[in-house]
Amino acid sequence: MDEEVIKKFLYVNRKAPYGSIYALESLEVVLIGAAFDQDVSLAFIDDGIYQLKKNQQTSVSSGTGMKDFSKTYRALEGYDVEKLYVDKKSMEERGLSVDDLLVDVEVFDDAQMAELMEQQDVVLSF
């Protein structure tokens, strides 16, 4: 592998966190990918916004028996994954604001989100 190459990777997260496995497995890619020292951004669009919602209670003790992986988003900073973007319309349509989210994000409108995607080398959509 050529370690010199640095590409812009964007992970597009569009699904709610527990109704399907996409969010969890996307996060697993982000964590493994961090070891490759690429230029990584994450976008949260549509129900993907819910992945970042504060106060998730999904653990075994609270009933669903699913692993609460929401805390992992707060750990991303430690992996040098710091560019998190949230789609403004998706957030507002769901009655949420940045105060409801677990991590610091930048809020992008459609045009900004389109520009972000345009800038990427690799877009992984989950």
Binding site: D2, E25, E28, F36
Partner: protein, 130 residues
């Protein structure tokens, strides 16, 4: 052009696997290079040797194996996604004390690093999913 391919959905359940196959085949016929096909999420089920589709339908797994053989493709199933879904090669079956393995010919199991590497090494990375 050097392509990387990601397949995120299982066979028969979703069009993604068929589209990925058709795209990969067409690209190869046009003389392009496929760096790797990586199977993730339920996409790992595309590599099950035990799949038995009805005879009057396409055999998605065999089709991938065949294309892989013809073009020496690197068909990689994500190990974490595969283990969750009961997809094991002989080594993994032994390591986890399971009594069977089910990986089809031409596929191999490896880590997510192979997905990132495909993104880095390919000129175009194409995702087939829901």
């Amino acid at each position: 052009m050097k392509f990387g391919i990601l397949v995120n959905e299982g066979p028969y359940q979703h069009q993604a696997s068929d589209s990925a196959y058709q795209f990969t085949k067409a690209a190869l016929e046009k003389g392009h290079e496929i760096f790797r096909v990586f199977f993730y999420h339920d996409g790992v089920n595309n590599g099950s040797r035990l799949t038995v589709p009805p005879q009057d339908d396409r055999n998605i797994v065999e089709r991938w194996s065949q294309l892989g053989k013809e073009h020496n493709l690197d068909l990689v199933l994500c190990i974490a996604a595969a283990q969750r879904r009961g997809m094991l090669d002989a080594n993994e079956a032994k390591r986890h004390g399971k009594d069977a393995n089910n990986i089809a010919e031409g596929f191999r199991i490896s880590g997510l690093g192979q997905l990132i590497e495909a993104g880095i090494q390919s000129e175009r990375f194409v995702v087939f999913g829901d």
